[in-house]
Amino acid sequence: MGIRFVLMVNKQGQTRLAQYYEYLNIEERRALEGEIVRKCLTRNEQQCSFVEHRNYKVVYRRYASLFFLVGVDNEENELAILEFIHLLVETMDRHFGNVCELDIMFHLEKAHFMLEEMVMNGCIVETSKANILSPIQLLDKAS
């Protein structure tokens, strides 16, 4: 499995979404998130989107005030993950319409559902936005 975790963090370093594909307890998570955020958020636009931390490689991308960080292992294709982050953002955009930090906060479970349709057990499940969103739209219609 390539993807170890997906994090969304705002400019202030507050976690807005966290999904881990390997077990870490709460203290480890907090420590890891803190370290990674400190490392990534201090980097400027010109620097590359990859940061090595512990035994992870963190691929990150910034959209307005929100950072998307994906932790992968050494085998993973960093450039493809970068593209995957963009796909994730586009998918959320399509659903929320110009997604922002608040959308993700207030609809945390929906954001998770989308992520769940895209990544499972650290592997990519689906890359078509329509396929990703159809179960979620179905749910919206039902309620």
Binding site: Q47, F50, A80, M105, T127, L138
Partner: protein, 877 residues
């Protein structure tokens, strides 16, 4: 409805949390919410359980404990409705800790849901199993998942494929059941099924050789066709990313091909054309295209060699490397590391560019580039590369200096073509980043310096110049202080001047100034100060005219709060003030440090007994290679008669040997004052050297201190690998302590006591040329201790000179050798040498004495060695 359990809306809770100004406020809000949720759970409130769980997820994300929500998740999963199940499964995946009981409880629900008529519910159950499944669950549910791999809806098949990856990783034995169903997935059209199916095949290959063989045989052609169709496919809006159809699937396919082609020439052959096509035709102006190229290069590097393709791959990397996009450069550096193993020449061509990357402002790129440069170094380019790196060290960021200097040191040590270059580079590194280097680096430097006698003068002068310009680097200062202490005379006299040097004028006072400044620095730590004190002691002997001033500097440290420094100061003060005679011999130059031992110890191997316990004879003029140490190995083994061939002996055993350490071959001197001071000193110093006729007491002090230094080494008590500096002083000084305290005490003389039991004398050893007899006396004060008077008689008509007796005993014995009466043995039994041995037996009454001995002497200027084992000790000793 219970007014307490309903709580606030999710939105309101988030607002409340965001409004908190301090962490304490936030904790209070969260505590209140958690209490409300707990209450709702305990009252079995169905209406709000969905909302409560969403809140718990948010609280969990903030990093608060939410374990009490787990059972609520189980309840929701067990309900009938899809929305409840959905949030229940999500909660389970987020909130679950590693408590297996909860997982066991959920197994049954998952099993039911896997067989549900609603395909969305089946999807949920697959997802949960894929993310959380344990080995037990994998075994229980594998048949259901296998069935679902053929489900009519592709959205279920894709999830079942990933679920299978979890199962085969948890229980690799199950892999064989999934090989054929997985191969079927590769024939699908649906991208989701394809991408998950390809990943499943890749993972199957990793856990099962059978799968690997199967896919090599049956699937390669299909995969090649699949990838070819994908690359040539017309515009597909749903999967298009900047002009490329589904780059993710591209990447996964290339990864699987790489696994299949690795180490298999036929398989590699069948994909060569396709890889060439992908490598040449993929657009490289967008990230998605580069991701595919990157993966394609990785595949080409891994599969069996095809010269043309490799060239193509390295060219792509070269293009990447010169890209302006930092991401592309990063992955290029990453991949070039792998390419090094295949074709280092091709990578060497990019050396200049890579070196530029070391200086990049981006830490990630710097780190990768530095790793790569480290691999690039070889004998031919080491000088140039090191120069570049050292130059960069001067201007690099402080946080990068640690990594950079470590790599430079490692390169220099590994490839150094000559000692002067090594010393030069190390001095540069220490001057620039001395505070960042590890201890073993400067220890190694000192070892190298001592081993380069013709560079002593050059080194000490270079160091002197270096510390004139910078005193901020602690390790530089230490090396400088050490060298000034050792080679001060060369510093003053400009001796051994090399052509490249400019002569400098340094007075004796200047040399002392260096050390005085170093010891006076506020930032100097204990090690540096201790080294300074020793250097001062040495200088006091080298420059007698400054003795007074040096003594004053040392005097100041008599009141040091650090015990170590205080003690040294008092001792050294006393040596300078009261023991003029022995001082110069005391502070002889350090013997040449053994490089092999040092590097061996550094590598963490068992210290080599022979070379470690062999302190070089102190009388050897500096720089002269010491005589090869006589092998000690056979002395080690007393229990068997076989002479062990390797030194695989633990430290304990060696410990015993220290009592009989190889003593320096005593050299004949002119100092005849031995009777007055020497004997007393010898006894006080008593580490076990048989000093025999060594002519100055101080000599023995030195050798003793060396012996005990190795004792420290072997028993692992001394933390610093390079002990010669510190340990020798501490050990040396402990004996000096005795020396100072014990003045006036008479050496204890063996006294035969009449009421002690008597034991018959034995002939311990007899050969055609030599006879050794032992006379025994019991120490009246201790049952365990036996005094042995050894008497050596010469049976040949020739005089034996340089006669040295050595002995070794097993662990349960302790041996102490007193000095021998002489080191010359007259011919034909016309006189003898006597030497007293003191043995204490910790197993007294249980085991008898046993000893192995060795005798060295010179006859007609030829070295003779005799050895033997003594088992004939009387019982009861």
């Amino acid at each position: 409805m219970n007014p307490f359990s309903s709580g606030t809306r999710m939105r309101d809770m988030i607002r409340a949390i965001r409004a908190c100004k301090t962490a304490a406020e936030e904790r209070a809000v969260v505590r209140k919410e958690c209490a409300a949720i707990r209450a709702a759970i305990s009252e079995n409130d169905q209406d709000y359980s969905h909302r409560n769980l969403a809140k718990l997820m948010f609280i969990h994300m903030l990093g608060y404990p939410t374990h009490f929500g787990q059972m609520e998740c189980l309840k929701l999963i067990a309900t009938a409705g899809f929305p409840e199940k959905r949030i229940g499964y999500l909660g389970l995946m987020l909130l679950l800790d590693e408590r297996q009981e909860v997982l066991m409880l959920v197994t049954n629900s998952i099993k039911q849901d896997l067989n549900h008529t609603n395909q969305y519910i089946v999807g949920l159950a697959l997802c949960a199993l894929g993310n959380l499944g344990s080995a037990e669950m994998a075994r229980d549910l594998a048949p259901d998942v296998e069935r679902l791999l053929q489900f009519r809806d592709p959205n279920i098949r894709k999830k079942a494929a990933l679920c299978t990856i979890r199962i085969i990783k948890k229980v690799p034995d199950l892999a064989e059941n999934f090989i054929k169903p997985a191969a079927v997935l590769l024939k699908e059209k649906h991208h989701g099924v394809l991408i998950t199916g390809v990943q499943l095949c890749t993972d199957l290959c990793r856990v099962s050789d059978e799968a690997l063989e199967y896919f090599k045989k049956k699937s390669i052609d299909g995969l090649v066709k699949l990838l070819r169709d994908l690359t040539n496919s017309p515009y597909a809006p749903e999967y298009d990313i900047s002009g490329i159809t589904d780059p993710f699937l591209h990447v996964r396919l290339l990864k699987l091909l790489r696994v299949l082609g690795e180490g298999d020439a036929d398989a590699s052959d069948s994909m060569n054309d396709l890889l060439a096509q992908v490598a040449t035709k993929t657009e490289s102006n967008k990230n998605a295209g580069n991701a595919i190229l990157y993966e394609c290069v990785a595949a080409i590097m891994s599969i069996e060699d095809n010269g043309g393709l490799r060239v193509l791959a390295v060219n792509i990397l070269g293009r990447f490397l010169s890209s302006r996009d930092n991401n592309i450069r990063y992955v290029a550096l990453n991949m070039l590391m792998k390419a090094m193993a295949l074709d280092s020449q091709a990578v060497q061509r990019h050396r200049a560019t890579i070196l530029e990357c070391v200086k990049d402002p981006d830490a990630s790129i710097r780190k990768r580039a530095l790793e790569l440069v480290y691999l690039l170094v070889n004998e031919n380019n080491v000088k140039q590369l090191t120069k570049d790196l050292v130059d960069y060290l001067e201007v690099s960021d402080p946080e990068f200096k640690g990594d950079l200097s470590a790599k430079i040191c490692s390169i220099v040590e590994k490839f150094s073509p000559e000692k002067i270059w090594y010393i030069d580079q190390m001095l540069k590194v220490l001057s620039e980043a001395g505070n960042y280097v590890k201890d073993d680096v400067w220890h190694a430097l000192i070892v190298v310096i001592t081993n380069a006698p013709n560079l002593h003068g050059y080194t000490v002068r270079s160091l002197y110049k270096a510390v004139q310009t910078t005193t901020e680097q602690e390790t530089l200062l230490r090396v400088a202080v050490w060298c000034v202490g050792e080679y001060a005379d060369l510093l003053i006299s400009n001796a051994g001047m090399l052509d490249i040097e400019d002569p400098i004028t340094v007075t004796e006072a200047d040399a002392v100034n260096v050390v005085e400044t170093a010891i006076g620095r506020d930032s100097s730590d204990l090690t540096t100060r201790a080294m300074c004190l020793i250097a001062l002691l040495k200088l006091s002997s080298r420059f007698p005219s400054l003795s007074k001033r040096i003594n004053d500097i040392i005097h100041r440290h008599k009141r040091s709060l650090v015990l170590e420094l205080q003690q040294r100061a008092i001792e050294f003060n006393s040596i300078i003030g009261k023991h003029e005679k022995i001082r110069s011999a005391l502070v002889e130059r350090m013997p040449v440090l053994d490089e092999a031992t040092f590097s061996g110890r550094r590598a963490g191997s068992v210290p080599n007994a022979v070379s470690t316990s062999q302190g070089a004879p102190p009388k050897i003029p500096n720089g002269v290679v010491k005589p090869a140490p006589p092998p000690l190995v056979d002395l080690l083994d007393l229990s068997s008669d076989d002479v062990p061939t390797s030194v695989s002996v633990g430290g304990d055993f060696l410990h015993d040997l220290l009592g009989v350490d190889m003593s320096p071959a005593p050299s004949q001197g002119t100092n005849q004052t031995k009777k007055s001071g020497t004997d007393m000193l010898l006894d006080l110093l008593s580490i076990g050297d048989p000093p025999a006729l060594s002519n100055s007491a101080a000599l023995d002090i030195l050798s003793t201190s060396q012996d005990s230094q190795s004792a420290g080494d072997l028993s692992g008590k001394s933390p610093t690998p390079l002990l010669s500096v510190k340990a020798s002083t501490s050990a040396g000084s402990s004996s000096m302590m005795d020396l100072l305290d014990g003045f006036g005490a008479t050496p204890s003389v063996p006294v035969a006591v009449t009421d002690a039991p008597t034991y018959p004398s034995i002939v311990a050893f007899e050969s055609s040329s030599l006879k050794v007899t032992f006379n025994f006396t019991k120490d009246p004060s201790s049952q365990h201790t036996t005094l042995i008077e050894a008497q050596f008689t010469n049976k040949s008509p020739n005089i034996y000179s340089n006669f040295v007796f050595q002995a070794a005993v097993p662990k349960f014995l302790q041996l102490h050798l007193d000095p021998a009466s002489s080191n010359t043995l007259p011919a034909s039994g016309d006189g003898s040498i006597t030497q007293t041995l003191r043995i204490s037996n910790s197993q007294h009454g249980k085991k008898s004495l046993v000893m192995r001995m060795r005798i060295n002497y010179k006859v007609n200027n030829k070295d003779v060695l005799e050895e033997g084992q003594i088992n004939t000790f009387p019982r009861g000793l």
